[in-house]
């Protein structure tokens, strides 16, 4: 999966976990949890959906890498064999 493919999938997963989430308001390099008012339960739902969609095991110690949309996309892309995003 490429970074962009991963990003699109992650946006869809967030929208599923948090109906009505205003993703347009979240810059891809900024933490999204606070911005989207995701509480711990929302975040767990997101992680579970993401794990199910990608087939990846997402251990607790990796949650730090899932703070931003870009971070999530890099994480998913690199673990599904895709290249990370070029540094911008």
């Amino acid at each position: 999966m490429t970074h962009d493919e991963a990003l699109a999938m992650i946006r869809a997963v967030i929208e599923e976990a948090v109906p009505g989430a205003d993703l347009a308001a979240v810059p891809p390099d900024e933490p999204f949890r606070e911005r989207l008012e995701m509480d711990s339960l929302d975040f767990l739902t997101f992680v579970e959906l993401l794990g199910g969609r990608t087939g990846l095991a997402l251990p607790e110690q990796d949650y730090g890498a899932l703070a931003t949309l870009d971070g999530c996309a890099d994480y998913v892309a690199s673990r599904t064999g895709g290249p990370p995003a070029a540094p911008s």
Binding site: G20, E34, S40, L41, E60, Y63
Partner: protein
């Protein structure tokens, strides 16, 4: 009993502050507890003075009051003298704005330094503090600001834009909005607190304050009607102080971490007031819940006393199970001396998990917004009966009352009756008169009066007492939902749903959940012509989340064109609960939501 009793803990290097429960219960009086307060120099009692000034006056201004841990783990240390100066500046700002004594100052803030500045400046200057939960959406915020007659609101620019700007025109009484932290572009009708504080004096004399003067307003939810604002007075500090020593073993310079959100009563009574009155050091975590972060804070800040919630404990259990490999890293929790929880019943498994993974059992305790302070607790010096709320605090008398037809305590000729035997379920009641008992619901005398009978405060919780005096939570006597330790009024959620044009009717219940106790689930019937499909379901979820915020909004919506109703047309939530749980619908007496996940 499935779990064996856990024997009393030994203090690691001294004596517990409640070394002998029975002895203290026999001798304790609230008058004695009152005498432990400093009191104002000219007489009177002020919660803010007891929290801050008295340490500074005793020469302890250099003691560390706050240890604010930012999201990036950087730490800011705030001494009692700094806190007094901040709070003094804030008090002067309120004076300059013309806010009168007893007027309401609301906060809509996460845990951060300015929360303490605002809270203590408000209390010390005899204004009334009303903290709101920042995960409320615009509608709950508006309703509470209006019901509480808010004069001043302290919040951040981001929260103001998200939750207040669109409703501000409906709040004519809200004269001042003060923004804390960095402000890029102050919206019209707001002021930047830092700028006002910079001009204010760091010295402020606490004005004469009576023990019965209003100090705090805390909103809570009932089954029907609007949220209620429980009124607490300055004398509540007597109970905050005494109970924190008895039930949390708090003392001077203890490093203490209360994880409760400042928008709930625990976040004020035990997140601000009680630990400060003891001269403790408060860990203020500005970050999000994260398993590793939490263990890291316990370790790096050398937390001695930790007061958290069953939901948080259960989230830690998921990540670090009892049969796993222990802590998820080389975390040193050897400074930890006492762990307590509150919010909903702690399942026995979690008590035992604490013992095995944290090295200490978790001591559950019980209280409510209305009680203002911990009323029933498991103590460090006593055995824990896993799953039990514990025993009443010294000075607190609790009883189990027989119930009548409506499920609440039966009142006959003005009198109530206690259940005849141990082990019998009934409504939990407390003998009225402890210092932190609420003194009213703001502007709602009738609802306040309905909480009392025959000299007892009726809690609305069902419980039983075993033959040795330990209390066990059974459920709510009404339809209020307990989710992640917070009370949610089904009526508030139903009202929001009904504002959607597709919704004809709604009934809202708590569906039992192993982690958060109960999740808010709505059953909705639709207006003719509306299709009950997934798109509409998602639209309703988004619609309610936008209005109510994540703390209150339903997480699940089911369509049902035949909602069960009473003859008078009210949706029967109990029947919805019975159907959801697969219980026989006729046996309504057993349907109280069991929120302990067991």
């Amino acid at each position: 009993m499935a779990y064996t009793i856990i024997a009393a803990q030994r203090h690691p290097h001294g004596a517990w502050r409640l070394p002998d429960y029975d002895r203290t219960c026999a001798t304790f009086t609230w008058d004695e507890a009152r005498s432990r307060m400093s009191g104002l120099p000219g007489g009177g009692l002020n919660m803010g003075f007891e929290a801050v000034d008295r340490h500074v006056e005793a020469g302890h201004g250099d003691w560390e009051a706050l240890r604010c841990v930012a999201a990036d783990d950087s730490v800011t240390h705030v001494s009692y003298a700094d806190l007094a100066a901040d709070a003094s500046r804030f008090a002067h700002v309120l004076d300059d704005l013309g806010a009168a004594p007893q007027e309401r100052v609301f906060t809509l803030l996460g845990r951060r330094r300015e929360l303490y500045t605002a809270a203590l400046g408000t209390l010390r200057s005899r204004r009334v503090l009303c903290p709101l939960f920042s995960a409320f959406g615009p509608e709950p915020v508006r309703q509470r600001l209006a019901l509480g007659d808010a004069r001043v609101l302290v919040t951040t620019e981001a929260l103001y834009r998200r939750k207040v700007e669109e409703i501000r025109h409906r709040l004519p009484g809200l004269a001042h909005v003060l923004l804390v932290g960095p402000v890029a572009d102050p919206p019209p009708g707001t002021a930047v607190l830092d700028r006002l504080m910079a001009r204010a004096s760091p010295v402020f004399s606490v004005p004469p304050t009576g023990p019965e003067d209003m100090a705090l307003l805390h909103f809570t939810s009932g089954t029907t009607g609007t949220p209620k604002a429980a009124v607490h007075v300055h004398e509540a500090v007597v109970a905050h102080h005494a109970t924190a020593a008895f039930a949390l073993d708090l003392g001077p310079r203890d490093v203490y971490w209360c994880t409760a959100d400042p928008g709930w009563v625990t976040g004020t009574s035990y997140g601000i007031i009680a630990p400060l009155t003891h001269g403790a050091t408060l860990v203020v975590d500005e970050g999000e819940f994260d398993v590793h972060r939490w263990y890291r804070i316990l370790d790096s800040q050398k937390v001695a006393i930790w007061y958290t919630a069953p939901t948080a404990i259960r989230m830690l259990m998921r990540a670090t199970p009892r049969d796993g490999h222990g802590l998820p890293g080389p975390y040193d929790l050897s400074s930890l001396r006492f762990v307590a929880s509150v919010g909903e019943p702690l399942n026995p498994e979690a008590v035992v998990w604490g013992q095995q993974v944290l090295g200490l059992p978790v001591h559950d305790n019980w209280w409510q917004t209305e009680t203002g302070a911990i009323m029933i607790a498991n103590y460090a010096s006593g055995d824990i009966r896993p799953g039990s709320m514990g025993r009443p605090l010294p000075g607190v008398r609790a009883a189990i009352l027989e119930r009548g037809q409506d499920g609440r305590a039966a009142v006959t000729g003005g009198h109530v009756r206690q259940v005849p035997h141990p082990g019998v379920e009934g409504e939990l009641a407390l003998r009225a008169g402890w210092p932190s008992m609420f003194r009213g619901y703001l502007n709602e005398q009738g609802r306040y009066d309905a909480c009392f009978a025959d000299g007892w405060y009726l809690t609305g919780d069902l419980a039983r007492r075993d033959e040795d005096g330990w209390f066990w939570f059974v459920g709510r006597a009404d339809d209020v939902i307990k989710s992640a330790g917070h009370l949610i009024g089904p009526f508030e959620v139903e009202s929001a749903l009904m504002e959607h044009p597709a919704v004809a009717e709604a009934g809202v219940i708590g569906r039992p959940d192993p982690v958060v106790g109960a999740v808010v689930k709505a059953f909705v019937s639709l207006r003719p012509g509306c299709r009950p499909d997934d798109a509409l379901r998602r639209e309703l979820l988004a619609f309610t989340r936008r209005r109510l915020g994540p703390a209150v909004a339903p997480r699940e919506i089911a369509f049902d064109q035949n909602l069960p109703r009473t003859r008078s047309g009210k949706v029967m939530r109990r029947l919805l609960r019975a159907r959801e749980l697969g219980l026989p619908e006729g046996d309504l007496s057993t349907l109280e939501s069991r929120s302990d996940g067991t």
